[in-house]
Subunit: 292 residues, 2 copies
C-alpha cells in the first residue's frame, strides 16, 4: 500500500493494487494472470472468455506458451472485440527477449490495423533495464514495474539516523555535534533548515546565517510543543508537487546512469564555520566532554 | 512489526521495538540513543542520569565522543550502580573497529570486576560481518542487528509467483504446466506436496507417486472450499518449531559462507516423468495449445 502510494506520487500512472486504487484514488490498470490462460483448454478460448467479461479492459498476456503465437491469438481476439464495438487495449510481454518480441509484435499488430494497441512489458524491470530496452529500439510503450520498485532493490534501507543538533537551555541555543571514531560520520550542529535555490540546496542554521531571501525552505514543522501542526496534502497535490520539482532539475542530474552528476548540497558559510570550530574545540577536550 | 515477529521466530532473543514487545510478547532489550548523551553537559552525567531512572537496564552506549573514554566512563557508572546494589548490564559499541574496541573494553571491564557485563555491538551488522568479527577474536557477546535484518538487504524481494499446477475437470485432475520462451522457467504440474525426509525435500504429486510414508509433509491446507481451515500457532510455538527444524539441518548447510552447499530438493520420480512428458507433448503442439 505505501509503495503504491509512493510510486504514484513519484510519477507512475496507475497501479494493479486494487485496494490502493480504492483507498488512494490511484487509477487502476492490470492484466490477467498466466493461470487464467492455463485454466482454459487453449489460449484463444482464454482470451475470448476474458474479452467477454472485460471488453473494455483487454490487455492480453501473450507469453504463457509461445509469445509470437500468443500475439497472433491476441490479434484475433482483438479483431473480434472490434467487431463487437470494443477495442483491445494491448498485449503484455512478461518473459524472453522483450525488445525483439516487442518489435515483432508491433509489426504484427500494425499490419492487423491495431496501431493504437499498447505493448506492455514486465519482468523484474527497473530503470536500468528500461533504459537498455529503450536503447535497443524496443517498441514497448507501457512499463509494468513491480518487484524492483516496491522493494527498492538496489537500496533496500534508507539509513536515516536521528541526531541532536541544538538544545535550548535557559532561553539560549546550545549547539550539539556528534562524531565517532570513524571520523567520517560527523553531524551538523545548529537549528537546521534547508534552502533550495535554482542551482543547489544549502543547509543552514536559522539562528545565524548570511543567506538572502531567495529560494524555498524545505523543512516544515510537523510538531510544535508536542502538538501536530502539519496537514498532509492530498495524494494528487503531492504528486503534482513531486513532478514539478523533478522538472526543475537540470537534465544532467536526471540521467539514469550510475555515473550521473550529483546535485550540489552544501553547508552555508557560517554553519560551516560553526561546525569547524566545534570539531576543533572537541579535539582539545578531555575524555567525554562534548563540543558545546 | 512483521520483521520483529519474523526475527524472533527465526532465533533472535529480543527486540528494541516496544510495540512488538507488547503485541507479540517478545522480550524487550535496548539502550539509549546518542541524543541522550548529547543532551547532557558531559558523558558521565548522561550515564549517571540514565542509571538513576533505569538502574536495572543499563547498557551504556559508549561511542558518542571517544569510545575508549566512553568505556571508562561506563565503568565508573557501573561501579556506582554496584555500590547502590544494582548491576550494569553492559556497554554498546556502535562505530569504528568493533573488534579492537571490544577486546580493549573487555580488558578494562574485567580489570574493574565487571566480568559479567555484556559487550553489545551494532552498526549495519549482518551474518557476514558477525562471522568476520568472530574470526577476528572480538569479545562481543551480544549482536544488535537491525537495518540489514529488517530489510533483507542482500535479497530485498522474495520472487514468489503463482502458477496453476492442476485443475479438477469433471471429477478428474488435469495437470497444467507453464513455460516461457526463456525455457528456464518451467512450472511443476500436479497436485503438489513437499515431503521432508532426514536428508532431502521431495516435491511430489499426491495423486500419483512412489514415496513411502517416511518423512513429514510440509504443506498444510489454509483454505478449503473458500473457508479458512488453518489456525496460526502462537509465536512461541512457531519459534520452537523453527529452531528445532534448524537444528535438524546438517552443519554443512548451515555455514554462513556464500559458497555453502545447498540442501537437496528434488522432484519425485513419477512427477519428474509427468513433467518431462508434458514438456514433450507441448513442444509438438501447434500454437497456443497447452500441454494438458
Amino acid at each position: 500500500m505505501s509503495a503504491s502510494r509512493a510510486a504514484y506520487i513519484g510519477g507512475v500512472n496507475s497501479t494493479s493494487n486494487v485496494l490502493a486504487g480504492k483507498v488512494y484514488g490511484i487509477p487502476l490498470k492490470g492484466t490477467h494472470a498466466h493461470s487464467w490462460i492455463m485454466s482454459f483448454p487453449s489460449e484463444p478460448e482464454a482470451f475470448d472468455a476474458f474479452a467477454e467479461v472485460m471488453p473494455n479492459n483487454c490487455v492480453f498476456l501473450v507469453d504463457t506458451y509461445n509469445t509470437i503465437d500468443g500475439v497472433k491469438n491476441a490479434i484475433k481476439a482483438g479483431e473480434k472485440l472490434k467487431a463487437r464495438g470494443h477495442k483491445m487495449l494491448g498485449i503484455r510481454l512478461d518473459s524472453g527477449d522483450l525488445s525483439a518480441f516487442s518489435i515483432e509484435a508491433r509489426k504484427l499488430m500494425d499490419a492487423a490495423g491495431l496501431k493504437d494497441a499498447d505493448i506492455v512489458a514486465s519482468n523484474d524491470l527497473d530503470e536500468y533495464a528500461i533504459e537498455k530496452l529503450k536503447a535497443q529500439g524496443s517498441k514497448i510503450n507501457v512499463w509494468g514495474v513491480g518487484t524492483r520498485l516496491v522493494t527498492a532493490h538496489d537500496q533496500p534501507a534508507l539509513g536515516g539516523v536521528y541526531k541532536v543538533s541544538a538544545l535550548k537551555e535557559n532561553g539560549a541555543w546550545v549547539y550539539k555535534i556528534k562524531f565517532s571514531d570513524d571520523a567520517i560520520k560527523v553531524s551538523n550542529p545548529g537549528v537546521l533548515q534547508v534552502r533550495r535555490t535554482k542551482t543547489e540546496d544549502v543547509i543552514y542554521n536559522i539562528e545565524d546565517h548570511e543567506l538572502g531571501p531567495e529560494g524555498e525552505d524545505l523543512l516544515v514543522p510537523i510538531f510544535r510543543q508536542g502538538k501536530p501542526v502539519y496537514r498532509e496534502p492530498d495524494i494528487k497535490a503531492s504528486r503534482e508537487s513531486a513532478q514539478s520539482d523533478l522538472k526543475k532539475l537540470d537534465e544532467k542530474y536526471r540521467k539514469i546512469s550510475k555515473a550521473t552528476e550529483n546535485y550540489p548540497v552544501r553547508l552555508e558559510k557560517k554553519l560551516d564555520e560553526l561546525k569547524t570550530s566545534l570539531i576543533r574545540k572537541a579535539s582539545g577536550k578531555p575524555q567525554g566532554q562534548p563540543a558545546s
